[in-house]
Structures are given as structure tokens and as C-alpha cells.
Symmetry: C2
Subunit: 332 residues, 2 copies
């Protein structure tokens, strides 16, 4: 396929899956020319983005994420929406197989004409910032998807990344009493707009209720992320199709309320602002550490700091001075 | 007082309070010449630092922090230690009065010859990094203090800052059931190595027990910060002198265990490493935003990002290019 800008843009806006898929591949590519082309595509489609509901869904391994999303996603599709599912794999190469496995496990969704499923290995992330998924969201929106689910395995860092690009963040938890049993990691609960306990059926139902009470009580220690929104805990069963509509309705209520108050707009503006600042910081710091003048002295000076022989401030000053008085100025 | 390096260093190492106090004032000064002098002093005393136990203590307004520290600090003093208390006021000017008030409320400690109490308004922090308190810790250590308590009002950000400079972080909580009653904010509990519930006496004792159970249960959702250390919750009463020795013993156990395993050393090395990287980042970013070329275009381009008219990545690229191809190279 030739890289012709107009063709790509037309293809994406015309909701042609092959162009959407190929554009995401370019966004994820590590080749500079691919990235530059992808940037041009993104700039063209930018006016056609932002209309979707962006959902983050995360849960620990074994929580039954695919089963949940398979059943839960149906609700959106049945309501006439086009649904895109972007799966970030925080462990990149290593478990790429398992995410592709997930795709085949979501059989009904995977074969539905209004559903687009795409794994996105985090391992190829360049520029130190996870642009890919944010940019893939934009591409999916331009291709007419109303609901974008960004799913990730809950391992701590990935949830934070996803939180920064979605409107509503849903945590999946295991039935069970206390401890790490429910699979919710340190500092992650505070990211959630809602929590769904999976497998709330059969002999696990009692455990699910215990988990619900326990998580509700733990939520009391969180200040909600959004004004006027108090996260709730839902017991769900994909098997018995129970509780899923409650979560679905909760999300719709959230979006409606946050849109009405203007908070959704403000929140997305903040996300965009953070995105550019993050990119800027990374650009400045990357260039600094690539400087041969810095490289030559870095290891030695850093060791002096770590061992407590030099003031941390002094080492920073010395390296900054070295950098700014030597670095040849050129184009990026 | 003349700024003679040798005199200052000798004075501090000779445990003369007037030199310690004056050195902290220089560390906190916004005058460049003061800072430069302070840096020289710090470099001289650096080999004489690091031997103290560094304790962070934080609690919400009204938790009875001064009363707690007044009683708790006695335990260290009675054991023959020299105790320094550095109080960070996160709201700077505004409540400086209240922290000075705190000092007079800690009457027994304030008048004890082996105790040094010093308020440190966060408002004067320059360089975007709270160097002052970290540097004041070093100065106190050089002046022979064995125990350094860094106390702060719990308002969210200040606890994170303090956590990064202490060995053991103690959270104070209110007696009471659930919710924000206990005064523990979002994301703060995970910073704690131990939690003390104050006022666990008289008619509040029952509430204290409820808070204890509830916090213990919430701690189950935290992955402890340190290997092999599980934070505990203590019911304390400064009035009845109850539970304070348990906290005291817990801290000594912690230090002993973490020293034996080498974890304390590693943790402090990480703190020093983070300190220099933080200073570096700030230096790079501050210089960027001070560039007249950046300033000229910043507001307009940022608005384009926020409004969603330009790709965040593109704006970062444009401003970086502008910066690096125009910025005159000079000394810092």
C-alpha cells in the first residue's frame, strides 16, 4: 500500500477498516518516515475526533477480563454503537501471544461488523510517552467508532497510563476477602470511576459480596477524581448476564453528568495539556542524556551522589553547565 | 554575622545552635549569594551527615499533631538522643503563624537543651524542588542530632515531599468511623510505614478502635513500600501516655531491620538519586520556559493543544525545535 496522505485520510473518514488498521500500524512503527506520515494523517483527521466515549478497563490476570468485555461490549453494540477495543499489553513482546489469544476468546465481538479489536504492544512505545494508544483512539474516532475501550492488564503502571487517556476508568476485581485476593494494586483504586467484581455467580457469589463490602469501605479513603462523582462497586456475572447493565448505565450516567457540568470538556483539555508537557519534558531530558559531554561524566558524578559524597544539587548544576556550554546547536 | 566558611562549618560541627540556625536561614534564603554560601557549607559538612534516624510525621489539621509530638519526642530525648524537629508548612505565609504557634505549644520540648525546633515555610522554596528541608536535615545531622523529625500538615502534596526525605513515615489519624473522618487523604496511606490514631482515650477510645480496624483493613489494599515491612496501626493517647512506646519501638525495629538487610542504605541512595534527577529536570524545564523564543509562542500553541486543534506531540516538537535552534548558548 502506498503512503498517499489523501487516500489514507479519505479511507479512514470513509470508515474503511484496512486504512484504519494500517494507520495504527504506522502510528506504532519505529521508523521515522512512518511516524512522520502518521503525524500528517493525524493532523488531517483531528477535526473529526473527540465525539466518542473513551472507556478504560483494567483488571489483574485471571479476573476474566475478556469474558467480561465480550459480554459487556454487547450492550454497546446492541444499542447501535460502533465499538473499538484497543488492548495495551504492558509486557510487550513477552505476552503478545496472550493478548492475541484474548482476541480469539472474544468470539462474538471479534466477528461483529461494528466492532474493531486491536492489540497494541506497549513494548514498541518510542519517545518515552505512550502516544500510540492516544493516537489510535483519535484514528478510531475519525473512523466513526462511538465507544472506545482501552483495556490493559492491571500491573500498576499501565493503569496510570490508560487513566490519562480515557473519560471513565473501570476496574475489574476478583471475588474474595481482603488482601491482594481481589487483585487491586496499591494506588490503583483511586484511579477508578467504578469497580466491577467479576464472576459474581454460583459458589463465588458470597465472596463477591464480601469483596463488594470491603472495596466500598476502602473507597471511603479515596477522594474521588471527579467532582460530584462517587465511584460505586458492582457485582457482575458475564455467565449469568447479571450486573452488566448496571455498570453500563453507570457509565452513561457519568458521561451525561460530566458533559452537562462541562467537567468532561475540562478533563479532556487537561489530558491534552498533560500530553504535550509530557512530550516536551521527555524531549528535553532525552536530548540532555544523549549529549556526549554529559555521557562522559554522568556515571562518575551520579555515583558520587548515590554514595553521598556530593550534593545532589551540585551534580545537577555541574552537568547542566557542561551541557549548555558545550552542546552544539542544531535542528532536531 | 559575617559569612566566613570555616567559621560556619566549625560552628555547626561544634554543635553551636546559632550557626545551625543561621545556616538553615541561608539555605532558605532566596538570595543567590546566600544560596551559594550555603552550598559551600553543605559540601563541607556532608561527610558528617547520614547517621540520624529521619522520621516523617504528618496528620490532618486538628489531629493533635503538636500534642502527639510533644509527648512522643520525649521518648527519644529520655533515651539520651538529640532531637531536631523541622516543621514544613505547605501553605507557606498563610499559616506561618499557626506553625510558630505549634512551637510554643510544644513547651517541654521547645525548652529542652537537646531539642531543636525549626519551622520551614515551604513558600520560600526556589528551584521548584524542596531542597531546604533536605539540606536542613543534613545541617542538623552535622550538628549532632540523632533523631530528625520532619513534620508537616497533611494536605496531600506535602506528605509526598516528606516521604522522599525520611526513613520512616508516620501518619497520624483521627479516631472515627470511615470516610474522611480519620483525615487520611487519597493516596497518602500507601506512603506510611506506620499509622498512629491520636486521642485514643476517654469517650473517643471506642472510635479509635473502630478507626484502627478500618485502617488495618484498608492497609490490605496497599503493597508495602519496603520489602519485609508491613505497616501497623497503633492507638495512642498523649494525654494518658498510652501506645506511644509501641510506636517508638516500631520505629526502632524498623530501622534495625532495614539497616541489617541493607535496605535502609539502598533506600537513601535512591532518595539521593531522585533528588539530583529532580533538580536536573527542573533546571532543564525552567530554562526552556524562560527562553524568549518559547515565551513568544507558548500561549498560542498551548491553547491550540487544549482546544484540540493541534496534536500535542506536534506542539512539543515545534517548541523544542524553536528552542534548540535559537537559544543562545551561555553559562548558567
Amino acid at each position: 500500500m502506498q503512503l498517499v496522505l489523501e487516500t489514507f485520510v479519505k479511507g479512514i473518514l470513509g470508515q474503511q477498516l484496512n486504512f484504519l488498521g494500517r494507520a495504527i500500524t504506522l502510528v506504532e512503527s519505529t521508523l521515522k518516515e512512518h511516524q512522520q506520515f502518521a503525524d500528517q494523517v493525524l493532523e488531517q483527521i483531528l477535526p473529526h475526533t473527540g465525539q466518542s466515549i473513551r472507556l478504560g478497563i483494567s483488571g489483574p490476570p485471571g479476573v476474566g477480563k475478556s469474558t467480561f468485555i465480550e459480554a459487556f461490549g454487547q450492550l454497546f453494540v446492541e444499542a447501535g454503537n460502533k465499538l473499538a477495543i484497543l488492548a495495551i499489553d504492558p509486557s510487550s513482546q513477552r505476552s503478545q501471544g496472550s493478548i492475541l489469544g484474548d482476541k480469539t476468546r472474544m468470539e462474538a465481538l471479534a466477528t461483529h461488523p461494528n466492532v474493531f479489536i486491536r492489540p497494541s504492544p506497549a513494548g514498541t512505545a518510542s519517545g518515552g510517552v505512550n502516544h500510540h494508544t492516544r493516537e489510535s483512539i483519535l484514528l478510531c474516532e475519525a473512523a466513526g467508532y462511538d465507544i472506545i475501550i482501552v483495556e490493559t492488564v492491571g500491573v500498576g503502571q499501565s493503569e496510570v497510563v490508560v487513566r490519562q487517556m480515557v473519560d471513565y476508568f473501570l476496574l475489574l476485581a476478583q471475588p474474595g476477602a481482603g488482601d491482594e485476593l481481589q487483585g487491586i494494586k496499591r494506588g490503583i483504586m483511586e484511579l477508578a470511576d467504578g469497580i466491577a467484581i467479576t464472576k459474581s455467580d454460583g459458589r463465588l457469589l458470597a465472596d463477591a459480596r464480601i469483596a463488594q463490602k470491603s472495596l466500598e469501605s476502602a473507597l471511603h479513603y479515596q477522594i474521588p477524581l471527579h467532582d460530584h462523582w462517587r465511584p460505586e462497586v458492582f457485582c457482575c456475572s458475564a455467565l449469568e448476564n447479571k450486573g452488566l447493565t448496571d455498570v453500563y448505565q453507570n457509565i452513561l450516567n457519568f458521561i451525561e453528568q460530566q458533559k452537562a457540568s462541562g467537567e468532561l470538556d475540562r478533563y479532556r483539555q487537561t489530558q491534552r495539556k498533560n500530553w504535550w508537557i509530557e512530550t516536551l519534558r521527555y524531549g528535553l531530558i532525552e536530548r540532555f542524556f544523549q549529549s556526549p559531554y554529559v555521557k562522559k561524566q554522568l556515571a562518575e558524578l551520579e555515583q558520587e551522589v548515590i554514595q553521598g559524597n556530593m550534593l545532589p544539587k551540585r551534580v545537577a548544576q555541574q552537568l547542566l553547565k557542561l551541557y549548555f556550554s558545550n552542546e552544539p546547536i542544531g535542528n532536531l
